[in-house]
């Protein structure tokens, strides 16, 4: 699942203080609504959100929430989240202690004379071509949020681009301590 937030473009690049919360929840109906509702009514901002079944558990899901820690103290966000009965565990990952990845998919329609340029961009970004026809190419990039930002900005030069990004997922850096 990806973030429900509308795509607002690369100029909305974050300057706010982000924090990553990796939240283990019971895999029950309405849990995502409980979390989204809590954030809405307490005035906490979600920057991005990713949900998937938790590793090795049919009963749990993992929700990775990138929160805007300027909208509320992180302690408040974690404290209130912890009170949700379906929330089992919360890991707070400070960005410098985390490995973060996002997935970017983009379909670019190009004239023939632009195709060489496009191929160079794709290669430079280490993106993969996953679909192609006579007029368009679809590329995929699984990379850091910054690398995804960079590719997105570069692709702005093309006239017709449809671009989707997922919420980010994260794990602690090996050998580093998380809080």
């Amino acid at each position: 699942m990806t973030t429900p937030e509308p795509y607002v473009g690369p100029t909305a690049a974050p300057v706010v203080q982000h924090h990553i919360l990796s939240v283990l929840v019971e895999n029950k109906a309405g849990v995502l609504a409980r979390i989204a509702g809590l954030f809405a009514r307490r005035g906490f901002n979600i920057y991005s959100l990713a949900v998937a079944p938790a590793e090795g558990h049919a009963l749990f899901s993992r929700i990775t929430i990138v929160v805007d820690a300027d909208s509320a103290p992180l302690e408040q966000i974690v404290g209130q989240l912890n009170k949700l009965v379906n929330v089992v565990a919360i890991t707070d990952l400070a960005p410098k202690f985390a490995i973060e990845r996002e997935l970017l998919l983009a379909t670019i329609r190009t004239e023939v004379d632009e195709q060489t340029n496009l191929m160079e961009i794709i290669a430079a970004a280490n993106a993969a071509i996953v679909d192609v026809d006579a007029h368009a190419v679809t590329v995929m990039l699984a990379a850091t949020p910054e690398a995804c930002d960079a590719l997105e900005r570069t692709l702005e030069g093309f006239a017709e681009v449809e671009l989707h990004r997922t919420g980010r997922v994260a794990l602690p850096r090996l050998g580093k301590v998380t809080s």
């Binding site: 009514r41 404290g79 089992v88």
Partner: protein
Amino acid sequence: MKLTGAQALIKSLEESGVDTIFGLPGGAILPVYDPLLDSSIRHILVRHEQGAGHMAEGYAMATGRPGVALVTSGPGATNIVTPIANAHMDSTPLVVITGQVPTSAIGTDAFQECDITGITMGITKHNFLVQSASELPRAIAAAFHIATTGRPGPVLVDVPKDVSQSMMDWWWPSSISELDLPGYQPTVDINQADIDAAVALIEAAERPVLYVGGGTLKSRASQQLIAFAERSNIPVVTTLMARGAFPDSHPQHLGMPGMHGFYTAVMAMQRSDLLISLGARFDDRVTGKVDGFAPEAKIIHVDIDRAEFNKVRRVDVSIQANVKDALIALDASTSTVKNLDAWWKTLRSWQADYPLTYDPPTSDGPLRPQLVIESIARASAPGTIVTSGVGQHQMWAAQHWQYEEPGTWINSGGAGTMGFGVPAAIGAKVGRPDRTVWTIDGDGCFQMTAQELVTARAERIPIKVAILNNAYLGMVRQWQEMFYDERYSEVYLSPDLPDYVKWAEAMGCVGLRATNPQEMKDVIEEANSINDVPVVIDFRTDSSEKVFPMVPSGATNDEIMVHPSQRGKRS
């Protein structure tokens, strides 16, 4: 043993120790009402589902046991949303069971369908939509466990009609681990390092104050509070939600803090160098403008809910624990306490200069509302339970009645729900039939939920209702007088419409009226002599009377306005 879901639901309530349910049947909950006929549980048939919710709250606040309400789907469920929100704000343990349309009809906009788990997500501690009859015992057991442990609160269980109609093999969870709540850990061990840090602050403080909140009552910590306060000689304030947690007659009690708090209680916090918060949450009605609140005070914050720490005010030491355990630990670790004579000298001079006061009564009416409350208090037995609605009468009842023990003051604090008083009194009387229960109500509040007096009469629940009838929505009138240039907008109600005496009589109650101090004395005596039916008294009070002291909205507590007769004094 094969049971229907409905039978399993009732049996689960019996297993949970329920003796009383407040409710009103309807289509989706119909199957559950049939096995109720065979149960030992008493059902109180209300006249409106909001009444059921507030009765359950009154029951819970008077007894410390969870209140239970049972209503149908759709409008039955939405009518109880206000009490659920109220219980959520005041951390009152409730279990609310709602009927739901059959599972096959959910999502089809069926008759009397509404998404009550969605609606109440933000105002319950948790809620359940039960998917099968075999899940019912666990859902009910979990609901009681969640409602009553940690920080208490309301839990809603939504039961589709086909779930209550289908068959299941009876079972009952034998331990908490069978409740399947992997994310719910309400209890924590006290961290001794936090206690030690708190003790160091207490031993160093020169102007400490024990800031006692509702959590002190919830954890039944009054005895521990009295013991710790007496040993440490620290002054005590009790918030609106904690009235009765520390005896009003105790010489160390400074009274209630907050927007309409006692001058000395407000100023003690304001000048304090250490606030020891016990199950309180730095509510805006207590702090006034937060930036100017108790500017020199360090904060020790005791709360079972760690999300309360640093929510409003940065704390210096937080102790996650229930208040009782924390007080025991603090008392055991505190050895030396500073001599607080200088602090007490200041406090005593404030008390001498700014006691709670009001204009002297006249002999020919209209009545002073404060005098009515003091007169009822004097004429009523010790341990009498008082409930109220919300507004001026609530503040006067909190100020002018002497609360000596826990569970004797029952009101709507956080939510400020008008109409709370009458149904809460009914619930309190059901839970504590040995006690006299008075409602101090306003005429505006009374009109919101008065129909539950029909319930009270029919169920033989003899509560006593004092309407302080000033013919206005009094608190709004007070604000319009003081802050809106006396431009009175939509606050006049009329003293005679409705006729409260006739209305009371139509509902099977005794209706009385008093317009001057002599009549007041007589009707209070008469009301206290009636113990078989509810009594309603229409006290005609002075509509220009205002609640003082008052901290204006948005002001710091330093800007407290005392009674006009005390202005210009210096301490």
